[in-house]
């Protein structure tokens, strides 16, 4: 039961962080500039973690993640703006429709491997974007105006839920099956793992949380446009996962937080922003080629001795 004790400890730390930030925000210690950055961080962490389960855990190289985010964003916007339903219903609906989109895309494309899967998912994400671009009901290229409903609480708890669900999934027999597929698909198959099923499940869970991230994102900036969800957004998410270390959940969280901070600060220097951002990426990849944390988790660092390895 030691494991669940650690779980509650981490949950407590999370809630303390939430409470401190919430207090600082309501008392005006954190201005709108920083509170916006914190909300963006939460959204990016959700996107990174939801892609992590597809690429880092199951090893399926999908680079169309912004497509699911777009589905979530637009579905939630339709729910709040056109159907005038509460925000929370819109978030749930965004997740479910994105999940269905994930299954729809995953079932045919997941028979492909490596580069071919990457291209197919990229193609599907572009299809989603272009369909949205041509539907007048959601405003086409001009975009859709959305009420601002996202608060720090929504963003933080959605992020916490994403991390808990994906971390719990990974540490179960189902998560092990996914890692086995990443390590050696033929061997996983030979050990009685239904590889197609688990690839689709991972894809579905990833799409679900990308959809929720999309809903939070849509209600944070007053307007959503199809252009926001282009392949550059997909690559941004991919960078979080690769930079954090493929297979490390805390790595992708860390990378998403750091890169969001870097790009927010660099917004003050628009001319050199992308140069510095690219330099940061190149330097990290040169000095940490397996990503910030490799395949380790940040919790492993605090756990030395506990597992009773050879050092003890």
């Amino acid at each position: 039961m030691k494991k669940s004790k650690a779980f509650w400890a981490y949950l407590l730390i999370g809630i303390i962080i939430y409470a401190i930030v919430q207090f600082a925000m309501s008392s005006g210690m954190i201005g709108s500039y920083y509170s916006n950055m914190l909300i963006t961080m939460c959204i990016n962490v959700m996107l990174a973690v939801s892609l992590h389960i597809i690429i880092g855990i199951t090893g399926q190289f999908s680079i169309g993640h912004a497509g699911f985010m777009a589905v979530g964003a637009y579905v939630s916007a339709i729910f709040t703006m056109k159907l005038e339903l509460p925000f929370i219903a819109a978030i749930v609906a965004a997740g479910i429709i994105a999940l269905l989109a994930g299954l729809l895309i995953g079932i045919p494309t997941l028979r492909l491997k490596g580069d071919y899967l990457a291209i197919a998912t990229l193609g599907f994400a572009e299809i989603i974007r272009i369909v949205i671009l041509n539907v007048d009901y959601v405003g086409g290229a001009a975009g859709m105006t959305v009420m601002r409903e996202t608060t720090w609480s929504y963003a933080f708890f959605a992020m916490l839920l994403t991390i808990i669900v994906i971390s719990n999934y990974t540490k179960s027999r189902h998560g092990r099956a996914c890692i086995a597929i990443r390590e050696d698909e033929i061997a996983a198959d030979a050990m009685g793992i239904n590889t197609t099923y688990y690839k689709v499940v991972a894809f579905g869970i990833g799409a679900f949380f990308a959809g929720i991230a999309g809903a939070i994102f849509a209600h944070n900036f007053y307007i959503i446009q199809p252009g926001t969800f282009g392949f550059l957004k997909s690559f941004d998410i991919l960078i979080y996962v690769v930079l954090g270390g493929l297979g490390s959940l805390s790595g992708s969280v860390l990378a998403a937080v750091l890169l969001t901070a870097v790009s927010t600060y660099l917004a003050e220097f628009p001319e050199t922003r992308m140069i510095i951002y690219s330099l940061v990426l190149i330097l990290v990849m040169l000095y940490r080629p397996t990503g910030l944390l490799g395949t380790k988790e940040i919790t492993d660092i605090f756990k030395f001795g506990k597992k009773g390895g050879k050092n003890v």
Partner: protein, 263 residues
Amino acid sequence: MTNLLLNVENLGIQFGGLKAVQQVNMHLNQGELVGLIGPNGAGKTTTFNMLTGVYAPTEGVITFQGKKLNGLDPYKVTQSGISRTFQNIRLFKELSVLDNVKVANHSLAKHGIMASIFRLPNFFTGEQTMTEESEAFLKIFGLDKYKYELAKNLPYGMQRRLEIARALAAKPRILLLDEPAAGMNPQETHDLMELIAFIRKEFDLTILLIEHDMSLVMGICERIYVLDHGQLIADGTPIEIRNNPKVIEAYLGEEVAENVTSE
């Protein structure tokens, strides 16, 4: 009549114009230890791949306990009770030794995805059973002291053992071993053979073994099938095989075979 477990009739596979394996007839009775030998490229591993569903045979019928196996996906073949190891080790390298075995234990526990995500009570009992089962297997194979090591950090001989442990954890009735002693020194090979004999008795297994080491095959197998150029050229007891001119010819060439038989 002994208890027929696996029956293979007229099995064959064609890759494009190449007939890799053809007209193979073989059977396994409950509890037997059977060898499958043949020169390099004879089609031994291809036959294994057909038995385990990796390749779909283009002709012939495989029946296991009266059920047809052709065309089933590999995971279904494994779940129905045929498990295997690989010639070139295929462990889950970045997983711990314990987790490698737990992956094979997958179908034993029943907790679903929702139970895992929300940590429902049957998640804990399910995972607990899996851990206990897997640790029991590791103990038999002398791997329990490595259980938290990553599989890739194990010495070579131990990796081979872990592969067999993992295959066993899938609870097979038939175990297919593809060159389990490849790359092992004589001492390791000897230990491995004792281990195979032990698990066979302990788990009431039927074993089909591909092996290059002749002394080993002759020593422990009760029957042997010999493949050459994709065809079955002989079957019988080790003594019959040893004196079969066709087998000697396949391994050593025609001239030597003539000399040996004339002596």
